[in-house]
């Protein structure tokens, strides 16, 4: 049976236009953008046990439901990350990416205190040369991040093989945590958005 074309796509919220469209050869997100967006969300999930639910709730709060309709469509957006085990071969449009950026910043802002605290603890532990899992919350975050990363990323990918040890994954988790802190700022969404296309714009 031939299905008729779906009805006209619901119009994306106007506030997404606050982020300017970068000058790209094609109007879809490059590889690094898709990868970074998914990893940032992965870090949020590792920070917050109910992160996945919070993300869907945030989509509702931010009125992003025209872009992120449900759990499945959200997963499909995140699975455009090429490192994923079940990576989707669909493109990620700029509108979808903007929605993910706003969601990331919204969730990061809520956890500002926690993120700051963990980064300060990280500095102290490095200074005293103590193992990172000395601190319970930081240790939990790192452990959950490693588990999430290993269960969802395709171990055959070269980029994933590069993170073959706990130390390397911890380092990735900490750098993502620092990047999340920058998302909490006044111009966090703009800064994060612009950084996503570094080295890709023409």
């Amino acid at each position: 049976m031939q299905l008729s074309r779906p009805p006209i796509q619901p119009i994306a919220p106007v506030f997404l236009d606050a982020l300017p469209n970068p000058l790209l050869p094609e109007a879809v997100c490059p590889r690094r953008t898709r990868q970074q967006l998914d990893l940032m969300l992965l870090a949020i999930e590792a920070l917050d046990l109910g992160g996945a639910e919070a993300m869907l709730a945030a989509a509702k709060e931010l009125d992003l439901q025209s872009v992120i309709k449900n759990r499945v469509s959200f997963w499909r957006l995140r699975a455009t990350n090429p490192l994923r085990r079940y990576s989707q071969r669909r493109p990620l449009t700029l509108t979808e990416a903007k929605a993910l950026v706003f969601m990331t910043c919204h969730l990061a802002r809520r956890m500002t205190v926690l993120i700051r605290q963990m980064l300060l603890v990280y500095d102290q532990l490095l200074e005293k040369q103590l193992p990172l899992d000395q601190h319970i919350r930081l240790g939990n975050y790192l452990e959950r991040f490693r588990a999430h990363f290993r269960s969802r990323m395709n171990p055959k990918r070269t980029a994933v093989i590069a993170y073959n040890s706990d130390e390397k994954l911890n380092q990735l988790a900490m750098s993502l945590l620092g990047q999340l802190l920058f998302c909490t700022g006044a111009a966090g969404a703009q800064r994060f958005w612009s950084s996503l296309f570094d080295g890709e714009a023409s």
């Binding site: 700022g185 006044a186 111009a187 080295g199």
Partner: protein, 411 residues
């Protein structure tokens, strides 16, 4: 009237003092349009950064660029590069995973204004260095962002974020590293070319007719290049290996057309009796059995019923197309014409070359592969044969038509 604005974060305090040109606006917050003094204090560092407008402009530019670099991991030129040979006033560098070094160069050019003279009051020589943790850096970025967001302080300065273009990403790898693969490829090509230059050309040997068993030898083998694994090698197998099972691959035992005789000296001779079925199987076995095809055609009844011919043509066409697609791309430029004998079920019993190109490029057609293999088959009586003209066109189109044209009684 001097106005002071403060942007305070837990780890960083940015203080901007300036004058308002807009004297009319006395209510609320008058905008600062001229900066006289800038102070940036970072927690844990006793000495603040002091300066004027130059420091402010350079600071916000470097901090903003470095924040982008931190987020993307791609070095941002505005954060560390020298500007026309003179290092930027403020530079930021990553020195560890969680440490960032902020360097403030002393002013080099001659100060012309009163505010620039204050730069010399910076107590550090030659350059001030602050090591910031990630949280401190973030607070500094945040102070800068709040300053940008404040429309009443230097409204002409605003946050301007643009992604870096491709050339900056490409510049990450040094040119020597990028040129290495190309150089390596080129030099290995040269070495291979020199080595191959001294190698002798391989002699052009045509396949020799096998005389060990003249009965089984294909009379055309010497004239036509026979593909490996076809008549000539298999004939030699029979001649060398005196076992009945091998000979049965060529000559089916149930038809018993050949008399196998083992001489006392151990040599084996196989001679066909001369029944029509033998002729058929021999023609099938030979890839270039054009003469055998003639024999076959003269002995077997020809299919002339147009309905049957049509169905045979259709079956043959799909078969050949499938085989042809699996072949590497063809190199011939003229039509290859073959006269093909086809059984009623679509099996190719034999074929004959109808033009010279057909002989040269026979390996590019699927005919040899699709040739009906006689092994194990038991042709009891001459099967009816359809004679077809098959043309392989260089543009990938296959034309099949009855050899004798459409028969008279066809509609």
């Amino acid at each position: 009237m001097t106005i002071q604005r403060q942007y305070s974060l837990p780890n960083c305090q940015l203080v901007i003092e300036g004058l308002s040109q807009d004297t009319a606006d006395t209510s609320g917050r008058p905008p600062i349009s001229v900066v006289t003094h800038v102070e940036c204090r970072v927690a844990g560092h006793d000495r603040p950064l002091l300066g004027g407008k130059d420091l402010l402009e350079s600071l916000v530019k470097a901090v903003s660029a470095y924040a982008q670099e931190y987020l993307s991991g791609i070095p941002h030129p505005a954060a560390h590069l020298k500007h026309r040979g003179i290092p930027e006033l403020v530079q930021l560098q990553r020195i560890d995973t969680n440490l960032h070094r902020l360097t403030v160069q002393p002013q080099i050019d001659n100060p012309t204004g009163k505010d620039k003279a204050k730069l010399y009051q910076m107590p550090t020589t030659p350059a001030a260095q602050l090591d910031l943790t990630t949280v401190q850096l973030f607070d500094m970025v945040e102070a800068v962002d709040q300053f940008f967001a404040d429309a009443q302080t230097l409204p002409e300065l605003s946050l301007n974020l643009t992604p870096l273009s491709k050339r900056f990403a490409a510049a990450q790898e040094p040119i020597a590293k990028r040129a290495l693969p190309a150089a390596l490829g080129l030099s290995s090509l040269t070495v291979a070319a020199i080595a191959l230059f001294y190698m002798p050309n391989p002699p052009n040997r045509r396949p020799q007719p096998i005389t060990a068993n003249p009965v089984l030898t294909n009379p055309l083998a010497s004239a036509t290049p026979s593909p490996p694994g076809s008549a000539a090698p298999s004939a030699s197998t029979v001649a060398v290996n005196p076992s009945a099972s091998v000979s049965s691959t060529l000559v089916s035992p149930s038809a018993s057309p050949a008399s196998v005789a083992v001489s006392p000296s151990g040599s084996l001779s196989v001679s066909p009796v001369g029944s029509p079925s033998v002729t058929t199987s021999a023609a099938i076995a030979s890839p270039s059995g054009s003469q055998k095809l003639d024999t076959l055609l003269s002995t077997a009844p020809e299919i002339i019923d147009p309905g049957k011919l049509d169905s045979i043509i259709v079956a043959l066409q799909s078969k050949l197309y499938k085989g042809w697609i699996a072949k590497p791309p063809q190199s011939f430029t003229t039509n290859l014409e073959y006269r093909v004998g086809v059984a009623e079920n679509g099996d190719i019993l034999g074929f004959k070359f109808a033009n010279d190109a057909a002989l040269t490029y026979v390996k590019e057609t699927p005919l040899l592969d699709l040739r009906y293999n006689s092994a194990g088959a038991t042709p009891t009586s001459p099967a009816p044969v359809a004679q077809l003209l098959v043309i392989f066109r260089p543009d990938g189109i296959l034309e099949i038509s009855p050899w004798n044209g459409t028969t008279a009684n066809s509609p």
